[in-house]
């Protein structure tokens, strides 16, 4: 299983950009791509699963809030950048965030009321080491996230 993993120095630096139609059936493809890159970087299985879920949440949000493009399908861009510290993932869409990501920090107190939505950003923040989220009323929405490599993998392996 491990022969796909390169020494960190070789595997570390890289950049992939993936563009998928803003459609639910494509999220799995992006998930698997990101998982492939993360595995190659010596992330543990738990970390790879965390990254997969965080990316899925960011893309879901992009899809659910993407505008209907007048001249064709809206697209979602996923940039995956790695260095010896870890993995950056930047998800960009051309839609406006309409509250899907407006979740406060910390675990919610449901107080008897169970949530059916709005957990995406909570998950992203919990699963990744750094998250930033930018949007303007007409600008692209960008979710940028970082997962740090475990110390041992980053300094050798």
């Amino acid at each position: 299983m491990d022969n796909l993993s390169l020494p960190v120095a070789e595997a570390a630096r890289g950049r992939i950009e993936l563009k998928i139609p803003a459609s639910a059936q494509w999220v799995r493809v992006a998930r698997l791509t990101v998982a492939g890159v993360a595995s190659r970087l010596h992330f543990g299985i738990g970390d790879v699963e965390d990254i997969k879920l965080a990316v899925a949440e960011a893309i879901n949000n992009a899809i659910l809030h993407a505008p209907v493009a007048p001249d064709g399908e809206a697209m979602v861009s996923i940039v995956i950048e790695s260095d010896s510290d870890g993995l950056w993932i930047i998800v960009t869409d051309e839609g406006r965030v309409q509250g899907g990501l407006s979740v406060e920090d910390g675990a919610p107190d449901f107080d008897g009321e169970l949530p059916e939505g709005g957990l995406g950003l909570l998950l992203i923040r919990s699963l990744m080491d750094e998250v930033s989220h930018e949007s303007g009323s007409h600008a692209d929405t960008v979710v940028k996230m970082f997962k740090r490599l475990p110390a041992r993998a980053a300094h050798g392996a």
């Binding site: 639910a24 059936q25 999220v27 799995r28 998930r31 699963e49 965390d50 997969k52 879920l53 899925a56 949440e57 879901n60 899809i63 659910l64 675990a107 919610p108 107190d109 449901f110 008897g112 169970l114 949530p115 059916e116 939505g117 709005g118 957990l119 995406g120 909570l122 998950l123 919990s126 699963l127």
Partner: protein, 119 residues
Amino acid sequence: MDLRLRVGTQGEATVVEIGGEIDLHVAPRLRAELLRAGEGDSPRVVVDLSEVSFLDSTGIGVLVGALKRVREKGGALNFCGVQSRVRRVFEITGLMRALPIFESREAALTALWEEKADG
């Protein structure tokens, strides 16, 4: 795509076994299936998540939605088979405490008849 569903009955309860990846793409299909499982008056449903390998927030929304609908009809819906990945997602979102989760299918089934469905 990679969603597996098996619906059966055990006594008067409906048992829904879910396997594979629950994401935005398959959420509508799962929602429809759980709606069907929760039909009738005071439905009793067990949802077994043993084979679920991926669960995102849209999947959570579907599971929570199904639970709410069943409770509204005076029924009960219990979960079992929560494996480590699903457990992690439930823990982050605070749902490990908020959902009726049982260690075994037998315990989930038994509790369907003990529990007052008072939400």
